[in-house]
């Protein structure tokens, strides 16, 4: 299983693997929004939590369609299904690898982009905490969507339509935690709910995704 993680990470960082793509997209969103909204610090500070979370969510979405589609096209998904590791574990590992190359870097650069958006000082720590708790859910939910659309030609758009509504709770609680943190309010409730979504998704969705893949391979 470690081998699968290493393989996915290697592919991601080598030529054409898409590592950095999500990061660059996130950066562009954070740069473009102040250009569009205008330079008033108060306005930017008010929308910063929401923009950063929406940016992270869309950046995460960018690389999802490759998650199983590439393995499907070159035949390795068939071979992984017949291999001695459970397909549920394959899904979980691939989602984890996706998080390591997208969610984790997004979490780490988010504070720097917070500066561009004039995020109030108390918000930074909650931005990092909420992204660290919430982005794993984005990867796991995305893996489920990718499993549903594996084998479809041009499944990327359908994947976005399937996955974005499922991202709503994560977005609401994630952005809410940052907003409350930035205003110096208590953040325990949204963070607890965010963590609950991540834990629930990570526990249940690999099974659903594996079932979807089995059906799609028939």
């Amino acid at each position: 299983m470690i081998a699968l993680l290493i393989r996915d990470m290697r592919q991601a960082v080598r030529a054409g693997g898409g590592f950095g793509l999500a990061l660059a997209f996130f950066l562009l969103v954070a740069v473009l929004v102040p250009l569009g909204v205008g330079p008033e610090g108060a306005t930017l500070a008010r929308i910063a939590p929401g923009i950063l979370w929406v940016g992270a969510l869309l950046a995460c979405l960018l690389s999802l369609d490759r998650l199983f589609a590439l393995d499907f096209e070159d035949g390795s998904l068939d071979l992984l299904v017949t291999a001695p590791i459970p397909l549920e574990a394959v899904v979980a590992i691939k989602a984890f690898a996706h998080w390591l190359v997208t969610g984790l870097p997004l979490t780490l650069v988010a504070p720097f982009l917070g500066v561009l958006l004039n995020l109030p000082a108390p918000g930074y720590v909650w931005l990092v905490v909420s992204l660290a708790l919430g982005t794993p859910a984005l990867s796991v939910i995305g893996a489920f969507g990718a499993a549903l659309t594996v084998g479809l030609k041009r499944g990327g758009l359908l994947l976005s339509l399937l996955v974005l509504p499922l991202y709503v709770p994560t977005l609401i609680f994630g952005a809410e935690a940052v907003k409350r943190g930035a205003e110096g309010l208590e953040t325990g409730t949204p963070l607890a709910l965010l963590a609950a979504i991540t834990a629930g998704a990570a526990a249940l969705l690999p099974f659903a995704a594996a079932a979807a893949i089995r059906i799609n391979l028939r």
């Binding site: 081998a3 393989r7 070159d74 390795s76 068939d78 017949t82 590791i85 028939r218």
Partner: protein, 209 residues
């Protein structure tokens, strides 16, 4: 590690293509499947490999006995030859990557990226995966596609070695691999037109008569 298939029906896209297929594959033997394009060779092999359920019939084999090799080799273009094979060895918990590369005549290419291999070299790497699975029953779908004559002969030798060690192989191929293999012609097992189709014709036949 016997593979026994009795009265098996398999379907592709919801349509039954083969009915009543039965054979037994014993240790050290090979069974070659023959039949025209579209008769259901790949569907049968995928069913045997456990990638799709059978419509009817029984399939008895130990679940961890089969190694499946399809049309596609499952190679990652950005990984090197040794990394590609090492991945599958790690998944199957075996060693012997170097020996498998040597056996398939790939040692000189071990550090080359799979993207830069020729079609035949990719195929040899895909087949080398079988050697690192350590599994006794090989289920092979057209294994010699894009191999030249000498590589096909090399793979024939590999298969003979495998059978010599008590392994067995179920192969869909039209090429003579130089094996002592039984041949199963699949055309006679082609599914008769489904009952629904007959009713459909009959329903209209009355009106048009």
């Amino acid at each position: 590690m016997e593979l026994r298939v009795e009265n098996l029906s398999v379907a592709r896209g919801g349509i039954t293509v083969l009915e009543g297929v039965g054979f037994t594959l014993r240790d050290g033997r090979a069974l070659v499947l023959r039949g025209p394009n579209g008769v259901g060779k790949t569907t049968l092999l995928r069913t045997v490999a456990g990638l799709q359920p059978a419509v009817a019939g029984t399939l008895s084999v130990e679940s961890d006995a089969i190694a499946y090799a399809a049309h596609a080799d499952g190679l990652k273009a950005t990984l090197t030859v040794a990394e590609n094979l090492g991945f599958w060895a790690a998944i199957y918990g075996t060693t012997g990557v170097a020996a498998a590369l040597d056996r398939m005549n790939l040692t000189a290419l071990r550090d080359r990226h799979a993207a830069n291999l020729s079609a035949g070299q990719k195929r040899r790497l895909g087949l080398a995966r079988l050697l690192v699975t350590g599994r006794p029953i090989w289920v092979l779908d057209e294994p010699t596609v894009s191999l030249d004559l000498s590589s096909a002969a090399l793979f024939g030798d590999v298969l003979r070695d495998h059978m010599g060690k008590g392994g067995s192989a179920l192969i869909a191929t039209h090429i003579d691999l130089g094996l002592e293999a039984e041949v199963l012609e699949l055309a006679p097992f082609r599914a008769k037109a489904g009952a629904a189709g007959i009713d459909f014709d009959a329903a209209f036949g009355g009106d048009f008569a």
